[in-house]
C-alpha cells in the first residue's frame, strides 16, 4: 500500500513539474493542480489507519481511524481550489490584456513594453547612457521566464 501511494504521488508530482516547465499559462496551472494533489495525497498517506469511524465513543479497545489527516486534506483541498481559481482568473486576465497565453510571447511583449517605456522617459541629451540601460532591461526581462 505504501509503495502504491509512493508511486502515485511520485508520478503526480513528476507530471506536475513537467507541466510547470511548459511555456503555456494553462499548462502551468494544470501542473500546479497536479502538484497540489500530490501534496494532498501525501497528507492522506501520512496517517492512513484502518479502524472504526471516529465519531462518538469507541466501544471497548477497538482501533479508531485517524480523523486528523482527513480533516487536513479537506482543508488543503479547499485551499487548493481557491488558489486554482485565482490562478485561472489571472491567466484569463493575462489573455485579455495580451491576447496570448504563451510565456515566450508574453516575455517578448514585456521586453518591448519596457523598451518603449524607457524610450518615452528618455531625455534626448542622455540618449547614449540610457541605450545601455535599455539593453540591460531587455536582458533582465527575458532572463527570468
Amino acid at each position: 500500500m505504501n509503495l502504491l501511494f509512493a508511486l502515485v504521488i511520485g508520478v503526480l508530482f513528476g507530471s506536475g513539474v513537467f507541466l510547470l516547465l511548459k511555456p503555456d499559462l494553462f499548462r502551468v496551472v494544470a501542473g500546479l493542480v497536479l502538484i497540489s494533489n500530490a501534496a494532498n495525497l501525501t497528507l492522506m498517506a501520512s496517517g492512513l489507519t484502518r479502524g472504526l469511524a471516529p465519531i462518538g465513543r469507541a466501544a471497548g479497545d477497538e482501533r479508531v481511524a485517524d480523523p486528523l489527516v482527513q480533516a487536513m486534506t479537506l482543508t488543503a483541498l479547499v485551499i487548493g481550489f481557491a488558489v486554482t481559481a485565482l490562478l485561472l482568473g489571472l491567466s484569463v486576465s493575462v489573455y485579455r490584456s495580451r491576447h496570448s497565453v504563451d510565456l515566450d510571447e508574453l516575455s517578448r511583449q514585456q521586453a518591448a513594453d519596457a523598451v518603449r517605456r524607457e524610450a518615452r522617459e528618455a531625455p534626448h541629451d542622455e540618449e547614449h547612457e540610457l541605450d545601455e540601460s535599455d539593453e540591460q532591461r531587455v536582458a533582465y526581462h527575458e532572463a527570468p521566464t
Binding site: V83, L87, S93, S97, R98
Partner: protein
C-alpha cells in the same frame, strides 16, 4: 476571552466587511486603518505581557488541551506579529492618504494582516499552513489588483513559484505528522529528537526550501525583483516589511525550535547559501539604477544575513537573526514608502533608511548589524565578520548611488521621472514616523535587544527541554 484571540477577532470581521465595500472611498479606507491600528495595539499589549510573564496559550473553542487547535504566543511570534502589523499599518495609511487605486486593496491588506498575525500566534503546524496560505493568497491578489498585463504576469509568476513552495511545506507537514504523530509545535519539538536522522534531514530540507522561496534566498530568488517592480511602493513595503518575515520566522521556528539538531548539522550549508545570497544581492543591486529594483536585490542580500545568523546559531546568533529581521523590516518599509515621494523631508527620511540599511549609528540598522558582528565574533569566525563588513560597505555603495540618482539631480529632470508632485503632509508624516521609529530604536535599542535575546532564549530552551 484571552487577549491572544483579540487581534484575530478584530481583523477577521473587518476584512470580510471591507471585501464588500469599495476600498477606494475614504470611509472604508479609514475603517481598515482603524481595524489594523486596533489589532496593532492589542498585539503590542500582548507582547508586553508575554515579555513580562512568559508565553501564553489559548486552546480555541474550549476544547481539551490536546484536541483543540492551540494559539500560542511567545516573544518570537509576538514581536514578529507586532512588527508585521505595524508595517502593514504604515503602508496602508500611506496608501489611503495617497488615494487607493484598487477597490480591494484595504480588504486584502487586512486579510494579509490576519494571515500574518495568525501564523505568528499559532501553536499548531497545520494552522500555520492555513494562515500562511491566507496571507500569500492576499499577496498574489494585491500584486494583480491594479490590473494591466505587466502586473498580472508578475502576479502569476509570484503565485506559481510561491505555491510550489507552499505545497512543499504541506508535504513536509505531512511527513512531520507521520514521524511524530502530532501537529502541536511543542509536542512535535519534543518528539522530533528520536526520529530517524535520514527522515529528519529530508523534512528539514523541505522546510528550508519552502521558507527559502518565501524569503527570496539566492537560489530561489528569481521571482522577487519582477514582483517588487510591478507593484506600487506601498505594496512593495508590505511585501518586504511584513510578508518576508514569514521566511525568517519559519526558519527560526521550524529550524531552531522544532528541528535544532538538523539545523546544527546543516549550519555550514546555511552559512554558504547565506554568503552567496549576500554577495549576489549586493552586486546585482549595485548594477541597477531603478530604486525599487535596487531595493528588491537588496532584500535578497538581507535574507542572506538572516540565514548566516541562523547558521552561526547559539543564543547570540539567533538573537541576531531576530534583531536583524526586525530592523530590516523597518528599513525596507521606510525606503519603499519614501522612495516615490519628493521633497526635502522625505529625502531625509529616505536617507535615514539608507543609513540604517548600511548600519550607520544612530539607527536601528546599526544594532541589527552589530548583533550580527557579535554573533560572528562569538562563533569565532573571521570569515563571517569580513563578509558582514564587505556586505555593509556594498549596501552603502548601492544606497548612496540611488540616493544620488534620485535626489541630487536638477529639479526639471527629476520631475519628469517622479511626476507625482510634492508629497502631501499626510504622505510625508507616514514616512517620517517610520523614520522616527528607526531613529528611536537606534538611540534607545534596549527593548529591541532585550526582545531578541528573550526570543532566542525561548527558542533554545524549547530545544533543550526535549
Amino acid at each position: 476571552m484571552s487577549l491572544i484571540a483579540l487581534p484575530l477577532v478584530i481583523l477577521w470581521p473587518a476584512a470580510i466587511l471591507l471585501a464588500l465595500l469599495d476600498g477606494r472611498r475614504r470611509g472604508p479606507g479609514m475603517l481598515a486603518v482603524a481595524a489594523l491600528a486596533a489589532s496593532f495595539a492589542a498585539l503590542a499589549v500582548l507582547l508586553a505581557n508575554v515579555v513580562a510573564d512568559g508565553p501564553q496559550d489559548l486552546v480555541a473553542g474550549g476544547w481539551a488541551a490536546d484536541v483543540g487547535i492551540r494559539l500560542r504566543v511567545d516573544a518570537l511570534g509576538g514581536v514578529f506579529a507586532v512588527v508585521s502589523c505595524g508595517v502593514l499599518l504604515a503602508a496602508l495609511l500611506q496608501a489611503v492618504i495617497t488615494g487607493v487605486q484598487a477597490r480591494v486593496t484595504p480588504a486584502l491588506t487586512l486579510f494579509m494582516a490576519l494571515g500574518l498575525t495568525g501564523l505568528f500566534l499559532t501553536g499548531d503546524i497545520f494552522s500555520f499552513y492555513v494562515f500562511f496560505e491566507l496571507s500569500m493568497i492576499s499577496a498574489y491578489a494585491l500584486t494583480s489588483a491594479r490590473g494591466g498585463g505587466r502586473h498580472v504576469s508578475a502576479a502569476f509568476i509570484f503565485a506559481v513559484v510561491n505555491l510550489v513552495g507552499s505545497f512543499l511545506f504541506l508535504i513536509a507537514v505531512g511527513a512531520l505528522y507521520r514521524a511524530t504523530g502530532t501537529l502541536e509545535m511543542q509536542a512535535v519539538a519534543e518528539r522530533a529528537a528520536p526520529i530517524d536522522p535520514t527522515t529528519a534531514i529530508v523534512i528539514a530540507i523541505t522546510f528550508f526550501v519552502a521558507f527559502g522561496i518565501k524569503l527570496g534566498l539566492f537560489p530561489f530568488h528569481f521571482w522577487l525583483p519582477s514582483v517588487y517592480l510591478a507593484v506600487p511602493p506601498h505594496v512593495a513595503a508590505m511585501f518586504a516589511g511584513a510578508l518576508a518575515n514569514i521566511g525568517a520566522y519559519g526558519l527560526l521556528r521550524f529550524g531552531a525550535a522544532i528541528l535544532p539538531s538538523e539545523l546544527a548539522l546543516s549550519a555550514g550549508a546555511l552559512i554558504a547559501i547565506g554568503t552567496v545570497s549576500i554577495a549576489y544581492g549586493a552586486l546585482q543591486a549595485i548594477a541597477r539604477r531603478d530604486t525599487r529594483e535596487v531595493l528588491a536585490y537588496s532584500s535578497i542580500g538581507h535574507a542572506g544575513y538572516v540565514l548566516v545568523a541562523i547558521g552561526l546559531g547559539g543564543p547570540v546568533g539567533l538573537a541576531a537573526a531576530v534583531i536583524f529581521s526586525i530592523a530590516n523590516a523597518l528599513n525596507k518599509t521606510l525606503l519603499f514608502l519614501a522612495s516615490e515621494l519628493r521633497g526635502r523631508l522625505t529625502a531625509t527620511a529616505f536617507l535615514v533608511g539608507a543609513l540604517s540599511v548600511a548600519g550607520v549609528p544612530p539607527t536601528a540598522g546599526f544594532f541589527g548589524k552589530a548583533a550580527l558582528f557579535e554573533a560572528g565574533i562569538d562563533a569565532g569566525s573571521i570569515a563571517a565578520v569580513v563578509l558582514l563588513f564587505v556586505g555593509g560597505a556594498l549596501s552603502f555603495v548601492y544606497l548612496f548611488q540611488i540616493y544620488q540618482h534620485d535626489r541630487w539631480r536638477p529639479r526639471a529632470e527629476r520631475e519628469r521621472e517622479m511626476p507625482r508632485g510634492h508629497a502631501s503632509r499626510g504622505q510625508r508624516s507616514v514616512a517620517l514616523t517610520v523614520a522616527a521609529v528607526v531613529l528611536v530604536l537606534g538611540l534607545w535599542p534596549e527593548p529591541l535587544l532585550a526582545i531578541g535575546e528573550h526570543a532566542a532564549g525561548e527558542l533554545l530552551a524549547g530545544g533543550a527541554a526535549r
